[in-house]
């Protein structure tokens, strides 16, 4: 299954969310988006948004202040 990577390092607050939205729009159901960000607000707003939309989402911390978010498009 295809995996898409999205680099959102050093982006200001709502940009990671907007980038994720645009990317998810072009993806097929069941594909996974891997987002990399250094913005802790993204952890909150991307995760809440994706949950509200009904996608599968989880994240891990790669290093101090660096996260990877995984979103599986569900619908």
């Amino acid at each position: 299954m295809a995996k898409h990577e999205l680099d959102c390092m050093f982006e200001a607050c709502p940009i990671p969310l907007l980038k994720a939205l645009k990317k998810l729009n072009t993806m097929e159901i069941g594909e996974i988006l891997i987002m990399r960000t250094d913005h802790n607000c993204s952890i909150v707003n991307v995760v809440e948004w994706a949950k509200k939309q009904g996608h599968y989402i989880d994240y891990i911390e790669l290093g101090e202040g660096q996260w990877e978010i995984y979103i599986e498009k569900a619908k």
Binding site: F10, C13, P14, L24, E48, W49, L62, G63, E64
Partner: protein, 231 residues
């Protein structure tokens, strides 16, 4: 609900990650700076030493809770999430009660008190408030942080926010320098409205709490109902 494929990916990634370097030794320098400044304030001006500690505590609270005034006003519109917006309302409710008590103690027993004697930031309300709020709102969403948010993010190591702070310093300096001009143009003609002067302390606090309570309930309803950014 969990996805098995995401779990699989997480497990795989976790094995690839190098163990984190501890940043704890760096804590020594801020702690040293904290005590040095506290010692300095304590010997020069005791008020500053109290403000210094309160400020540090506010900073820690805001950083840990990711409290963000930008997100509180932006997220309801962008992602239909009002949790931070409701946090701001709760903050205003607490401030209403607290300032109500302080201000009543200061001027409650004095008939025909003047607004200058009241503790707190009571300023003229008018067109200047609306224009200023609109400009600040546009600016803070583009910059990705209000004043406190910008400072928190600089502390977290975001270089972009340093540029924002630079703009902040330039803007505030220009604003302070031209304040007389704006005051004559707009602010002087605007009226300073202090509700307790018209209806007494208890009714004013009650009305404000009722309005905030209604806003809180509306925000909760909006959160459940709305999801503007759909795929």
């Amino acid at each position: 609900m969990k996805s098995s494929r995401i779990e699989e990916l997480k497990r795989q990634r976790q094995t690839e990650i190098q163990p984190k370097k501890s940043q704890l030794p760096y804590l020594f320098f801020p702690v040293l700076a904290f005590f040095a400044l506290y010692y300095y304030f304590f010997n020069t001006d005791k008020t500053y030493s109290i403000i210094w500690i309160v400020g540090i505590l506010i900073g820690i609270t805001m950083q840990r809770s990711r409290f963000c005034f930008v997100a509180s006003f932006r997220d309801p519109i962008m992602i239909g999430n009002t949790s931070l917006f409701r946090a701001v309302i709760i903050g205003l409710i607490i401030a209403t009660v607290g300032f109500g008590i302080f201000q009543y103690k200061a001027v409650g027993n004095i008939p025909n008190y003047s607004i200058d004697d009241i503790p707190g930031q009571i300023f003229p309300v008018g067109l200047n408030t609306i224009i200023g709020a609109l400009l600040f709102g546009i600016g803070m969403v583009i910059a990705g942080g209000c004043a406190s948010g910008t400072l928190i993010r600089i502390g977290e190591g975001h270089i972009m926010q340093v540029v924002v702070l630079l703009g902040f310093v330039i803007g505030t300096t220009l604003g302070a320098g031209h304040f007389g001009f704006w005051e004559k143009l707009f602010i002087f003609s605007s009226k300073t409205i202090y509700m307790p002067q018209y209806m007494g302390f208890l009714p004013a606090v009650t009305v404000q709490l009722a309005v905030l309570g209604i806003l809180y309930l509306l925000a909760g309803w909006y959160d459940k109902k709305n999801n503007i950014m759909k795929l």
